[in-house]
Amino acid sequence: MILNRSGRLSLGLPAQAPGADRRPGRPIPAWPLLLLAVLILGPRLALAESLTVVSWGGSYARACVKAYHEPFTAESGIRIRLEDYNGGLAPIRAQVETGNVYWDVVDMDVADAVRGCDEGLLEPIDAGQLPPGADGAPAEKDFFPGSLTECGVGTLFYSTIYAYNLERFPGAKPSTLADFFDLEKFPGRRGMRRTPQVNLEFALMADGVPMDQVYAALRTQEGLDRAFRKLDSIKDQIVWWEAGAQPPQMLADGEVTMSTAYNGRIFNAQVLENQPFVIVWDGHVLDIGQLAIVAGSPNLEAARKFLSFATTVRSMVAVGRYISYSPARQSGTALISTHLETGVDMRPHMPTTPENLAGGLHYDWQWWSDHIDEMNLRFIAWLLR
């Protein structure tokens, strides 16, 4: 894919900050220097009370803007500059190591937040300073276990599911994870995220490994081979995606008949665009989204203020009125209500609803934070074969 979700050409080149390699030079006349100073400092001064928040783009970023970016700006007067990325630590590491930090707050998955924290790329968070729950319970008690880490504060639960386009399957309908890998019964191309994460889990579960033994299997060579063999069986039919906004697009264009996707993106396509997509919850992989502050953020105070605001029950519940992701705080569960724009009851669409939760696998971020580099290499080697 060369066009990323915002339609820009993406060359895989690292983002470069303006002025990243300014060096002291020979004396030059004063007036260009002055002009330069105005050009360089001018925008910085104007941005003094603003924050750069980095998120996953598309309908999820839009939900966050409506739910807590805009209210935060209205309350504090601090403007928010939104940037998109597709996850990963590389851009943050580049900023911290060159001492040129221009991202303040980043929306991350837990595995990345934990790794980033260990490497000193993120600011530690004092959970005691976070606002209490809706029922007054202190933050440490209110957050679901595992959603607060040393540097990351959980915001919501999301799931990677697979969805299919109803129009492409007039007869029998896919209903299990095994169906996703069954090209005979359900022909057509499949969309999958171009990472080993979640795909290996899907492959094993589809191959009949019980949910509670998936990660035990991945720890063995036989288990890994089994996962890749399963992926092999559909390899020539896979279309790889990178940004969360791509799968609904690919399903709508008919580029694929089914695709793995984030559940909220498919939900939004269903209710807002009336797309004939169906989510299959069998074997979905549940993970927590977190917010974290980049170490050395030039707007640390404002970033902390924003983080506190964004992780209140009110903000979490508000996000859940735009996209089907459920609050990372226990006191938020009871407050899940309807989709703001269409009035659809959100409860059945949330990944943590009991019926959905029962068929779901909890993403083991601990295992992944240890093995991501190794698995990436294996995955690339497999892609090249």
């Binding site: 590491r93 490497e119 790329l121 690339i380």
Partner: protein, 390 residues
């Protein structure tokens, strides 16, 4: 003397922007002091270890203290990442141990305490990995770049088949570069001949047709190939409209090897045409006529009179195209899809994604060494002073 002063700015510029960064990067592929600086005592003690049984208590105590120290200095994460590259899974063992060891056990109890935190501390493999990650000067990255690895007990072994990436890619890169060089030669030779032997006015026009794409941005040319070749693109649309292919049988000509070869051949063609042209221009057409008048057929005359004289141009063009192709990055990244990726895309991956700069540098070093070798061989066969670069 004064002449030397004139090139001084350029020399300084090249030194600062090319030679120095190159040296620093190549240095990274061999030298990595991070772990050695963080665990000096432990590594010293490990030197005396027999390599088979669990190390003695002193090693555990020193390891624990240095882990805690690294944690205080916030370098633990980077140390753990380095060790994890030698043996996957050790990252969290190190981090977890430093986290839990805060309630320090008394002297003599470090070994039990650490093995209780993670049984991997009791395995010799773990300590071998620590020792290897602690080497200041290491050939590890070069071994990895050749799909090799050091066995825990010493000796060099091949990586397991599902981790072999670079040699197959290197082979693919060489094959593709050779293929592109040949294609460029086949396509470029007649064009160069045509330009060299056309009347001046037409020659200028033809030369301009070669130069205009040459001056056009690489990105523009690559993206125009996307417009032409994609499944919903110009060529497929045309073929479908003419009824030559069915609507659902559109040919995939891009995001695969075909895309890479087509786009790269087009991008690199001028580098072949220009040296060829500059050599052919100096060959008087009379030679061919003389050969013909002595009874040689066109093919004979070409093979025995013309072709040998163009060899310096052929050599120069081929070398240029081949060297450029071997390190090509943007075009395969844009139009190569999965099957059209080359070794430089892996260098980019390790520079930007995995941030394993040592390995990226080793891959780059291998490429550089290969090109150097090639150059030497060429120099032997053709002689650099005989080559005409344009």
């Amino acid at each position: 003397m004064r002449a030397a002063a004139l090139v001084l700015p350029l020399a300084a510029f090249i030194l600062a922007t090319f030679v120095a960064p190159l040296a620093v990067m190549l240095g990274r592929s061999l030298y990595d002091p991070l772990v050695a600086d963080a665990l000096p005592q432990t590594l010293r003690l490990l030197r005396a270890w027999d390599g088979e049984r669990t190390p003695p208590e002193a090693v555990f105590e020193s390891m624990a203290r240095e882990l805690l120290q690294a944690r205080r200095e916030k370098s633990l994460g980077r140390v753990a990442t380095r060790v994890n590259r030698v043996q996957a899974g050790l990252r969290s063992v190190l981090l977890k141990s430093a986290r839990r060891l805060r309630g320090t056990p008394g002297s003599g109890a470090w070994r039990e305490a650490m093995i209780a935190i993670d049984p991997k501390w009791g395995q010799a493999r773990t300590w071998h990995a620590v020792r290897r990650a602690g080497e200041r000067f290491t050939l590890r990255h070069y071994l990895h770049a050749l799909d090799l690895d050091q066995a825990p007990g010493g000796g060099i072994v091949r990586q397991p088949p599902d981790l072999r990436i670079y040699l197959p890619l290197l082979r693919r890169t060489l094959a593709v570069s050779l293929g592109i060089t040949l294609l460029c030669l086949l396509l470029g030779y007649p064009i160069a001949y045509l330009i060299a032997n056309a009347p001046p006015r037409r020659a200028h026009l033809l030369l301009l047709l070669v130069l205009v794409p040459f001056w056009t941005s690489l990105l523009v040319r690559t993206t125009s190939w996307i417009v032409l070749l994609q499944t919903q693109g110009v060529i497929n649309d045309l073929l479908a409209a003419l009824g030559l292919i069915a609507e659902d049988q559109r040919i995939s000509m891009i995001y695969n090897m075909t895309g890479t070869v087509v786009a790269m051949t087009h991008v690199l063609l001028p580098f072949m045409v220009l040296p060829l042209y500059s050599v052919m221009r100096t060959i008087p057409p009379l030679y061919m006529s003389a050969a013909a008048s002595l009874g040689a057929s066109f093919l004979q005359a070409f093979r025995r009179v013309y072709w040998p004289q163009t060899l310096p141009g052929v050599a120069a063009g081929s070398l240029l195209v081949f060297i450029l192709a071997i390190g090509y990055y943007i075009t395969p990244a844009l139009v190569g899809g999965q099957s059209g990726q080359l070794i430089s895309n892996m260098v980019a991956y390790h520079m930007q994604q995995s941030l394993n700069w040592g390995l990226a540098a080793a891959l780059g070093g291998l490429l550089l060494g290969g090109v150097f070798l090639l150059f030497l061989v060429f120099n032997r066969l053709v002689g650099v002073d005989r080559m005409r670069l344009g």
